[in-house]
């Protein structure tokens, strides 16, 4: 049965920038429907790993498979997005001169033909879906405002909303709660847990309180490879992890 195959499979992946090994023999397996938290000090390679999965960076070595047997190293960013991998960037990246609603509209799942978009009208179902997402990310009141005017936290949420609109199989969420208040952080954890009920998710975060709230398996990266993996309690008790974090 295809369900037994992992949604994401990285094996022996390495990539260097000008001789500096940012990812070094990294292996990681994510099961279907799993949510995984990734931690690690600055420069550990967390974002670079997402770059590799989404086709932004080509690995020098190693295998990257999605949904069983799709070799991601053979596809580009747009292909990979259409295969069902969505991404929220570390620095929230939304279309600033578009309204909140239009940001979601551009992300909404569907055909990606530029020419067809010329005649594309919003269907009632799409309008309903947009309204639903806007409610989920608490931006209904701001739907007609330009994204540029949102607070940092709201931009983070808008980008999560864009992920929801894309409805990918696998979500890569890079530092979703940076710049959020404690209350917002709690909300975000709740939202991600809800999303994780129907999707596979990788969350990168430095905020340990947040990671604890997620309550999922944790992988700690260091210098481009996996240092430790297990429950948060197990990982944070791991002597090597403690050294890496204290040694900074």
């Amino acid at each position: 049965m295809s369900d037994a195959r992992p949604i994401l499979y990285l094996d022996g992946v390495s990539v260097s920038f000008d001789g500096f090994r940012a990812i070094d023999n990294l292996s990681l397996v994510l099961e279907k429907g799993e949510m995984r938290a990734i931690i690690g000090p600055n420069g550990a390679g967390k974002t670079t790993m997402m770059d590799i999965i989404t086709g932004k960076t080509k690995p020098d070595e190693g295998e990257v498979f999605f949904d069983g047997d799709i070799d991601l190293t053979r596809h580009d960013e747009a292909d990979i997005a259409m295969l069902g991998i969505g991404r929220k960037f570390q620095k929230p990246t939304v279309f600033e001169s578009h309204t909140v609603e239009d940001n979601l509209l551009l992300a909404l799942k569907g055909k990606r033909s530029a020419v067809k978009a010329l005649f594309d009208r919003r269907s009632p179902r799409q309008a309903e879906r947009l309204g639903h997402i806007l409610e989920t990310i608490r931006l209904s009141a701001r739907r007609h405002d330009l994204a540029a005017g949102l607070s940092h936290g709201q931009k983070q949420w808008l980008e999560i909303g864009m992920l929801l609109a894309q409805d990918p199989k696998l979500l890569l969420v890079d530092e979703p709660v940076a710049g959020m208040t404690d209350a917002e952080t709690g909300e975000t954890a709740r939202l991600l847990k809800e999303i994780a009920q129907t999707h596979s998710v990788i969350v990168v975060e430095h905020d340990m309180q947040f990671v604890r709230e997620l309550g999922v398996k944790v992988t700690c990266l260091h210098e481009g490879s996996v240092l430790s993996e297990g429950t948060l309690d197990f990982v944070s008790a791991d002597q090597r992890v403690v050294e890496v974090y204290l040694g900074r």
């Binding site: 580009d76 600033e96 033909s113 530029a114 020419v115 009208r121 007609h144």
Partner: protein, 394 residues
């Protein structure tokens, strides 16, 4: 029905006003020229009709550039090339219309070919004695060049300054090529001495008025088309690509296709502008490919306001009207004035004339709206309205 709806959606009052003014001009100006006696204060002289007809084709060119630069972020410094190619296609038709009335009286060969001792019409001149063939070429040649050029440039992810430079190189290469006599386009002198167009005397007042009207109506059509583009989901996509190209890839879009479509459509528009320009000025020669021409188009657009539909038209009209006045009064200083204008606009009116006006107007309206909202009105009601409209559209 869907198309009508889509068109109607794209109409802001500015767009509607521009279309109305252009259609009115297409009717009123010819009437004032042809039916009002020359002595009357209301009479529009033919030279003015032709001059403004020419400006309208420039405005169409600026509008075409705005589509790619203003909305899609592609700073093309080669749009003059598409304009010139459309112009040459029209010029070839007009050349063949001369027939045996040329200096050498050759019924088939244009004068310059006889002069070069050519015995046969080159293959690429075949069919240009038919207006419809020429009309297709006016669209196809610039469109095809833009498609092929864009295909390679956008696919290899050439952007920003590098793209601008290669568009300049493109128009420069064409300039050099068209200068050559053996290219078969009249070399240095280009194509000129036209006699008539679809059977009408090209010099007559009636024809000139008709060409003016055609230019105004075509521009109106261009405005409608660009407004439709911009308002559609594709228009939002263009802006998304302009502002955050790589982000669109991670949503599954292919920015290279978004750009290629805009670039090709824009080149076709520029070609049509060139085709309307040539019969009004009576000549097309390689100087139309000069890199400086393409840069001037950028200045018109910037002055009027990029990423607005009406801005480039106002910019083209104002700057060219200024140019006509200036080159009459102080011919040596025009280039300095143009450069100075560009610097001033960049520094003090980065959104151009129309962009600045729109911004001021929107800000005032927003202030007023928030003032009333504080009193009683529910701010959400606008959004509800739009949703209902979206649903009704299906």
């Amino acid at each position: 029905m869907m198309i009508v709806r889509a068109l109607a959606d794209g109409f802001t009052w500015r767009v509607a006003a521009a279309v109305l003014v252009l259609v009115a001009a297409a009717i009123v100006v010819p009437v004032l020229n042809l039916s009002v006696p020359a002595g009357s204060a209301l009479h529009v002289p033919t030279y003015a009709v032709t001059l403004f007809g020419k400006y309208l084709t420039y405005a169409l060119l600026a509008l075409a550039l705005d589509l790619v630069w203003g909305y899609c972020g592609i700073l093309s410094l080669g749009h003059g090339a598409f304009f010139a190619l459309g112009g040459y296609a029209m010029g070839m038709y007009l050349m063949r219309q001369i027939g045996s009335r040329g200096v050498y009286g050759n019924p088939i060969l244009p004068d310059f070919m006889v002069f070069l001792n050519w015995k046969q019409l080159p293959w690429f001149w075949y069919g240009f004695d038919h207006f419809w063939v020429a009309a297709i070429m006016v669209l196809a040649v610039p469109g095809l060049l833009a498609f092929v050029f864009g295909w390679f440039a956008f696919r290899s992810r050439v952007t920003g300054v590098y793209l601008s430079i290669i568009t300049q190189a493109m128009t420069y290469a064409l300039l050099l090529a068209f200068f050559r006599n053996d290219m078969g386009f009249g070399g240095n002198n280009g194509l000129t001495d036209f006699k008539d167009i679809i059977g009408f005397d090209i010099q007559s007042d009636e024809t000139r008025a008709a060409l003016f009207a055609a230019s105004a109506l075509t521009l109106a059509l261009g405005v409608v088309l660009v407004a439709f583009f911009v308002k559609s989901k594709y228009g939002k996509l263009m802006i998304a690509v302009r502002d955050a190209e790589s982000r669109t890839r991670f949503l599954g879009w292919r920015p290279e296709n978004v750009k290629l479509f805009a670039f090709t459509a824009s080149a076709v528009m520029a070609g049509i502008a060139g085709a309307l320009y040539v019969p009004q000025v009576g000549i097309i020669n390689p100087s139309e490919f000069a890199p400086a021409n393409s840069i001037e188009v950028v200045i018109w657009t910037a002055v009027g306001g990029r990423a607005t539909v009406v801005g480039p038209i106002i910019g083209a009209l104002v700057v060219n009207w200024g140019k006509s006045w200036f080159t009459g009064a102080f011919p040596e200083f025009w280039l300095f004035a143009l450069g100075g204008l560009f610097i001033l606009v960049t520094l003090f009116l980065p959104k151009g004339i129309v962009g600045t006006l729109v911004e001021g107007w929107t800000a005032r309206r927003a202030r007023r709206a928030s003032a009333t909202a504080e009193k009683d009105v529910e701010p959400e009601s606008f959004g509800k309205d739009e949703e209902l409209r979206a649903e009704a559209a299906e």
